[in-house]
């Protein structure tokens, strides 16, 4: 049974509110617009979360189906986009539980701390100073995507939401039901892990 909404709750109106209201008022055909509005972003989210392309497509499809089912329960107390991504995140977690039962490891800080005794040879940091366009190639992008997939899921989802989907710390915390401090710690460790992979790549490239 759904509890009565708090009459003093803050209502958020954003760029999606009108569309959500129309759909919930009975104009179900407009759900198509919602799909068109978010399918690209959710597809990116899915492809970064899931190594397997068909898992990513299932994630997107299941997310939209869940949104369709539960849209009537959306209370405009958060940004719609945050609510949408919470549905996506929960769908991703359920998907993983179905396909893999092993508990995912943490990323202890010691594993991602820079262990260099001194600043390395010039070429180790050369890549850090080069313009992005000079660095980017399909091989590097492939490596980075592999590295993102190899992150334990609780770190992967934070780096995807913060650095790829560009949610703020506060919005990410809301989506994942974490504290902002927790989001920051996980993000930092995820970034250091990815940096480690890049350092290894550029060390071998020289």
């Amino acid at each position: 049974m759904t509890a009565e909404p708090d009459p003093n709750r803050k209502i958020i109106h954003d760029e999606d509110s009108e569309l959500i209201q129309a759909i919930n008022a009975g104009d179900r055909q407009r759900f198509r617009e919602l799909v068109q509005r978010y399918e690209h972003k959710l597809y990116t989210f899915g492809r970064r979360m899931c190594r397997d392309e068909s898992d990513a497509e299932d994630l997107v499809q299941d997310t939209f189906l869940n949104v369709f089912r539960y849209l009537k329960d959306f209370r405009y107390e958060t940004k719609f986009k945050n609510w949408l991504y919470r549905v996506a995140a929960n769908t991703a977690l359920k998907q993983r539980r179905r396909s893999k039962f092993a508990r995912e490891p943490d990323l202890p800080l010691e594993d991602v701390l820079d262990r260099e005794e001194a600043p390395g040879p010039a070429q180790v940091t050369e890549w850090a100073r080069m313009p992005l366009e000079q660095l980017l190639n399909e091989e590097l992008l492939g490596l980075l995507r592999q590295a993102i997939w190899s992150l334990p899921e609780k770190y992967r989802i934070v780096v995807i939401l913060r650095d790829i989907e560009e949610f703020s710390t506060e919005d990410t915390a809301q989506i994942l039901n974490l504290s902002p401090a927790n989001v920051k710690v996980r993000l930092h460790r995820a970034r250091l892990f990815l940096r480690d992979k890049l350092k290894g790549y550029f060390r071998h490239e020289v």
Partner: protein
Amino acid sequence: MRCDPHRHAHCLALFDKLSEYIDGEMDATERLEIEAHIAQCVACFSCLQSLRQTIALCKRAGRQTVPAVFSARLQTIIQKFQSAP
């Protein structure tokens, strides 16, 4: 003066806050402390640069185009779902 990298407790403490610094999520006092340290510590400056570059690369690695076939299939599935009583 060059810091003895990564054995220095101060380096390690600041290292943990580099993401917050890059994201602009730090108060002015902490930010100035980091900036003062980085100005004299080559190792920490290098860490900062490489972390910044990692973030920039990550943003680019994220981009993905929805395959037209999947987009069409998604619309069909949604249409069936919408039509269900």
